[in-house]
Symmetry: C2
Subunit: 186 residues, 2 copies
């Protein structure tokens, strides 16, 4: 039997995007966004939605750039922290002992300790309602070299990312591989 939950923002699976940006005097900031996803192949674009009250909102508008950092499971506390506290009150990198690295491709900081970072130039903003969607053009992706397999491809089990479940407000690990994709079935 189907049950109606009404008009609500429930979907599976939601990412944990840690957004890096620079504020005034190059103060680096981080926030946690579950509202986002890839949105175009050519050019390579990724979207992330922010509320206007966020410090990161002003930062991205002013600098026209941001990073999306993918934390591994061992940084789940840090990832959650940056979604709870505001960069107006503290330097979250300092509070957490994380290292802000200046991107070589865009005007934004990335998190040295996280295994993957996407370096984005602001491509377009889309006003939607409570949130504004920032669409970023991916200028580079950095990955820890120990997260590559022998063929030099990113290995999800070494990256060890996690997802956010907004049905129960919890984070979950990624489990076993089920199968390959784009398989010919006939």
């Amino acid at each position: 039997m189907k049950k109606s939950l009404g008009a609500r923002t429930l979907a599976y699976c939601l990412p944990v995007y840690i957004v890096g940006s620079y504020g005034e005097e190059d103060k680096p900031n981080l926030m946690n966004a579950a509202w986002g996803g890839m949105c175009c192949s050519k050019p390579p674009l990724i979207a992330v939605s922010l509320q206007r009250v966020r410090q990161s909102y002003d930062n991205i508008i002013n600098r026209q750039a941001f990073t999306i950092n993918i934390p591994s499971v061992k940084y789940v506390k840090e990832a959650d922290y940056v979604g709870v506290y505001s960069g107006r009150d503290e330097n979250k990198f300092e509070s957490l002992g994380l290292t802000p690295m200046k991107s070589e491709s865009v005007d934004a900081p990335y998190v040295l300790e996280f295994p993957v970072s996407l370096h984005c130039e602001l491509f377009q903003t889309v006003e939607l309602g409570s949130h504004v969607q920032f669409i970023g053009e991916i200028k580079d992706v950095l990955i820890d070299d120990d997260c590559l397999d022998r063929a030099g491809s990113p290995d999800i089990s070494l990256i060890d990312p996690f997802i956010y479940d907004n049905g129960s407000r919890a984070y979950h690990k990624i489990g076993d591989r089920i199968s390959g994709a784009y398989l010919k079935q006939k």
Copy 2:
């Protein structure tokens, strides 16, 4: 050491959205989209990006509606199939033995066998490049009642969704819960 992978669409974790729409003579269609994500809370909006060549692209433009269906792990073959074959050549519901149900809230079909479906009215289109982003306003979410916990909340372990890893072109299960979210840490 960081390694640069250049400008590419790599991110973690990507969803498996199975998009339902009606074509001419109410022929139901399905496609598999990894480019998408939630994008606004009020109104509740979700984005999914499609290439213009897709049958689903025409369908959504014509009907101004679509569903996003979340498959459980046991439907991984069906989910992959709808991303490989075109609705121009076949009725994918019939090919797979899936049941198209007419949504009561929008002009699109949903997949009876999948545990969760989001029923969306087209809210906005955003032309980006190779892909067009369809932003849908979520009018209702249906869930199998046996995927609810005792308190009536969606239980991700009962829904059993999976993610797509485009680093290795494979599907992965969701693993154990790590922790709650929005925790006060100070």
